[in-house]
Symmetry: C2
Subunit: 739 residues, 2 copies
């Protein structure tokens, strides 16, 4: 490919991007699409409709300005810490690649371009390889420019990583202490409760904690077997929804209040319309009969202080480490109820099994893809589907089918990875939704890096290449051979896959189609009820993949940096816009995606350095290779330092912070109040009367109106129906609906 | 080598063993050697001298009977849990190799012997290879016997490992709760104490723990900079010792009472003779002047309950994970004082540095050895040392020099490894002596396995072989080629190195020579003061190495098993005898050597299975290889299960046990007493008046006579001078000498 070709390709892609962005700016102004492009705001119900008819069909850049102007504090307040961390990852990438662009375009590009003493063609028809390290002569003295650029990029990356880690650690600490009465801070999830001769599990828990934690134990709540009951409840909810949407259609706003005000899967609801009561109430009686037999050896144990709960969760309880396993409980809206029922003894084997399954899927993913792709040659298609024969006779169509179909198939297969990885992570046994998402994020990241980066680099038969890779010493050399020649391919990949994915993200085609379908085919007035939580497990790996491509290629092929900068700048605007308008924060990790980004960046950096060593080796410059080796060591040491300095805060809560919060609450006299609201925080089944939930607690507490008061205040920032209605009314709602 | 050769070699070695054992049984009866062969008993002073002159020069097997008859309880009471664990490792090996011997000699040996349809010579002159798997034909149907034997050995090993792990876990739990008032249970070692503007470190600690641990904080004691002061103290102690041994020679029993009644390195002593007071007292005044400036940001913090200390040690204290780093304190006699002064920030880098140094030493060890060995050919020797010319002219001497000198040099070099690894482990920064020993044990184990097992297997140039090993896929095949042919070499290795090492262990040649030197050259009556602690860091790796050799070779060359059985049976008797008579228990790990043995055994088993896969592959039996693969997976899963089920107890104390102990002490009213004795438990410098130590505590407690009372009871099992003297006298001793 030459410069002219690259520019043409860039032009087409920029045109498409502008087109999509304009389309978005028009579509978002249509009142019918409010549920798609402003799902978050709809749920908060403070939306001003566009009134002028003409304005609605003129593209505008107002949303870009809005996204640009929003401060970090506003974003933190409206979209939460995880969104801020995600945006910080993007900003960090912009910073790195600005530095990389300056360093590489000034230092490396000229020494590449004037590398071999060859006749240069006119710039537009110059081959792109002339601008890469491929053009540098063996043993050239100008390789120092590459070493300097690599040093500059590595040092600035490490510096930026350090300051980002520091600021995100501070944000996390603020996040921990900001929520004043988070029930999860007071709650320990206990697994593997042994039962003695006549005792039920609940007696067992009570006895144990009354004996050993007499001073700090408050009460507990058993987990019940979720098999049949849960299934019936889910079915009942679905049916209720369906009936509801026909009967209540004209009410406009959903009157369905969820358990804990947040979860979609907590499967509990308040019955408002009397005509649906009959069936559900019958079911409820059946549940109550079987409930006592279905008690499960797991429980939420509530403590009087945060520190008490925290220490109980940290220590090894029993002399048999497989009994009385304690862990800090997740947020009530973050609990993944169906996984609470997994016996603790199964966990380790589940973890190993899913790990093996994920690795197998990652490595063998390309085999079915290649097989299916092989079936798509025009001749074979024409034979299988004779009606396509006429179309395939045109040469253009054949080219399209043979050129695009394989990559379309690859893309479709690639879309199967995130849901599958989510499934693996669910099977793994995480008790929190965000834990599952984090685990899936890591898996998707490894999958993406392997199947996009490495498979593209070793574009031959991957299994054959694997064979040669298993010869450890060869790795840098093989990478050094492969990466520079593939850098040009990655440039086009950034344009096609990167820029396009942002347009797709902005336009939300799936939601748009669903909306159109519901409005014009089903003839419904109200938009489909679909506020989404941000898909961190697909977006974090995507951004990190482009970071990896950038770090590994920028020194070898400096022309890649402008494309990356465009991608990250666009990503910055698009994701901020989406956080503000579309996605709601259903459950939070408190910035736990940052360590993933940090580790991935360190991996990318070390990989870039190893590739550089390989390339310098191929260019017969042992001095350059020698200078790069200390860089690898320093980067690894820096990573180890960060792991010591910052990571523990992301793994555990600092005791100091918790004790300060305890102290403040005791000073303010809020402790009693918090204790009162704890027993109602975790509700597995909430169809029946308030007694149902309370009967599970061994120590009863007054759950009066003021008990829920403070929780509502905590939930003000959460996307729910609360903040549009008067507080007084809500409290009554909650008292009834929560249990 | 043929059967006759092997039997001759075995005969010679058995003869030598019998000779050494007889020599031992005579030497131990000589009154002059009491300090060598009964060092432990001498320190306990309940030794009955041999009276009959003739009996003293007749070899006897009484010690064997004594060693055999001692029960586990007696051993536990006299030599401690670590000794029991060590003996359990030996017994476990005997059990495995009994099963392996039966399985392999019945199943495998015939199918090896009748493998190739060749003419068999008479048994005595049969080549040994006929008895190994080398003799089995390619694609033979009799390879199933090897698979069955491998299954039998693997299953019985795993079963035995499980039950041993279980029983040692129970022993460890009993060990934790047996010592009723262990000061280390109440103490947390705090590092990286930040100092604020005007506060000293001690104020800082007081403020912090008074604020956050007001209910459980008792007092604390700062660590002082140990550089110069410590050096001077050590010198003073040495000088005192020397003067003492001349002046007090006739007193017979040492009147030197150590700090905390146990440590050799705690470097503190009571001055009994007035003439030595002058010099030391001058020094003391100097120390006191500089002491305040030398306070170090580390402290022992004492808590009121075990659970309080334990939780404080487990949680992350500060929002900066590099500050207020807490850890459970080691036993007072186990503290490695000079490492307490290492700044916490250095620890991670020290760990990395020592790891790299140890790996480098391990890999490059053979290079100097080979170079030195190359210098030892007879011709070169004769040229360098002309006076040897005459001797080297005899062919026999040349053979001896060329045949034995290289292996002697290798052995000498091998002896450098344990002290060097101890040095590495000290540099690493362990705060306890046993932690250092455990870490050194692991390092020596890796070193031994690499430099004895793998280097012997790949007997060519090791670096060349490494090159081919880095081609991962080849590993099983290469091992399969190399191991069977080296199995015969290992048989002789077991006889020469294994059996001989036991004789050396029994005869203690170094101590014997030192004793002779002191008695006949220095003309001293009293034996040199040298009670030794058992060298776990050399003996555990040795026993585990023979386990590795046995597991990997027994299926391939079944004739190895009888030699191993002899080794382990002899080891059982010898080590039990030594534990009872020679070694004293200076500091204890509470059975923490077992996980090392467990992991090493699992490694050996998996290695044996991988080698078997390689051998079956070479023998063109894919069925046999296929049947072995699930065995590898099951073994790894079993290991993971044990890691989940038992290992946590070896890493942390179970809270249940600690809380039960707290509860009992509170019931008995012993808590006050324990609190009283805590502040004097950890004494860094103990030359000065009792005020010195106390001035470091922010909360003063009465350290009256009854405070030390219970500690003495706890220490009754420890080897010290205490139990031979009346209790009343001792208490007074302690009150003065401890601070």
């Amino acid at each position: 490919m030459n410069i002219a070709g690259l520019l043409t390709s860039a032009g087409i892609n920029i045109g498409l991007c502008v087109l999509f962005l304009s389309l978005y700016s028009i579509l978002r102004k249509q009142p019918g699409n409010v549920g798609v492009f402003f799902a978050r705001r709809v749920s908060h119900q403070h939306l001003r409709p566009y009134e002028h008819r003409i304005e609605r069909f003129v593209p505008s850049a107002g949303w870009i300005l809005k996204a640009w102007e929003t401060t970090e504090e506003e974003l933190l307040a409206s979209a939460g810490l995880d969104a801020v961390v995600f945006i910080k990852i993007v900003v960090f990438s912009i910073q790195i690649f600005s530095i990389a662009a300056i360093a590489c375009l000034i230092l490396v590009l000229p020494s590449n371009y004037y590398g071999k003493q060859m006749e240069h063609a006119q710039i537009p028809s110059e081959e792109l390889e002339v601008f890469t390290i491929v053009n540098v002569q063996e043993g050239s003295r100008w390789l120092w420019t590459h070493v300097v650029a690599l040093y500059l990029i590595s040092c600035s990356t490490c510096t930026l990583l350090y300051f980002n880690y520091k600021s995100i650690t501070n944000l996390r600490l603020a996040y921990i202490s900001r929520v004043p009465a988070n029930p999860s801070h007071f709650t320990v999830f206990v697994r593997s409760i042994p039962s003695f001769m006549q005792d039920s599990y609940t007696d067992s828990v009570k006895k144990y904690f009354m004996k050993y934690y007499a001073s700090s134990y408050l009460s507990h709540q058993m987990v019940h077997r979720c098999g049949k009951v849960h299934k019936l409840l889910t079915d009942a909810e679905k049916m209720y929804k369906m009936l509801k949407s026909t009967t209540d259609e004209n009410q406009g706003k959903p009157s369905f209040v969820r358990c804990g005000l947040c979860g979609e899967m907590t499967s509990s609801f308040r019955i408002l319309s009397d005509e649906n009561n009959v069936k559900t109430n019958n079911e409820v009686h059946n549940f109550e009969l079987t409930r006592n037999q279905k008690e499960y050896p797991a429980a939420f144990v509530f403590f009087k202080t945060r520190y008490g709960a925290f220490t109980a969760s940290q220590v090894l309880q029993s002399s048999n480490p497989m009994l009385w396993v304690t862990d800090l409980a997740p947020d009530p809206c973050d609990v993944y109820w169906s996984n609470l029922c997994i016996p603790y003894r199964q966990l380790w084997i589940r973890r190993i099994a899913t790990l093996i399954a994920a690795i197998a899927f990652m490595l063998l993913f390309l085999i079915p893809v290649t097989v299916v792709q092989a079936l798509t040659d025009a001749g074979r298609l024409a034979r299988t589907f004779p009606f396509l024969k006429k179309i395939l006779k045109w040469k253009f169509m054949t080219q399209v089918v043979e050129g695009y179909l394989p990559s379309v198939i690859l893309m479709l297969f690639l879309y199967t990875a995130p849901p599958l990885m989510m499934l693996f992570s669910a099977v793994e046994g995480s008790i929190s939704r965000i834990g599952r998402k984090r685990s899936a994020c890591c898996k998707v990241l490894y999958f993406t890096i392997w199947n996009v980066f490495f498979v593209n680099i070793f574009s031959g038969t991957i299994l054959k290449q694997l064979d040669s890779l298993s010869y450890l010493k060869n790795i840098p050399i093989r990478l050094g051979q492969a990466v520079p020649s593939q850098a040009i391919l990655f440039m086009t990949y950034i344009m096609t896959s990167g820029w396009a994915s942002l347009s797709v993200e902005l336009l939300q085609p799936f939601m748009l189609l669903a909306n159109l379908f519901s409005r014009y085919i089903l003839k419904k007035e109200t938009p489909p009820d679909g506020t989404l939580s941000f898909p961190y497990h697909t977006e974090v790996p995507r951004v990190l993949l482009f970071g990896l491509i950038g770090l590994t290629c920028s020194v070898l092929a400096p022309l890649i940096t402008p494309f990356l900068l465009v991608y990250f700048t666009l990503a910055y605007l698009v994701y901020r816009n989406q956080f503000l308008n579309v996605y709601i924060e259903k459950y939070k990790s408190g910035g736990q995606f940052w360590p993933i980004a940090h580790n991935s960046t360190i991996f990318s950096l070390v990989l870039a350095q190893i590739i550089a060593i390989g390339v310098f080796g191929l260019k017969k410059s042992p001095v350059a290779s020698g200078f790069t080796i200390p860089l690898v060591i320093c980067t690894l040491l820096f990573n180890e330092y960060c792991r010591q300095r910052f990571y523990p805060v992301f793994k555990k809560y600092p005791a100091e912070v918790l004790m300060d919060m305890d102290f403040q609450d005791e000073q303010n006299g809020r402790m009693e109040e918090i204790h009162g609201q704890l027993p109602v925080a975790y509700c597995q089944f909430t169809v029946t009367s308030p007694d149902f939930c309370r009967s599970g607690h061994s120590v009863l507490h007054d759950t009066g109106k003021n008990a829920v008061d403070s929780e509502i205040k905590d939930l003000e920032n959460r996307p729910s129906l609360v903040d549009s209605e008067p507080l007084e009314e809500n409290q009554q709602h909650m008292n009834v609906s929560k249990c």
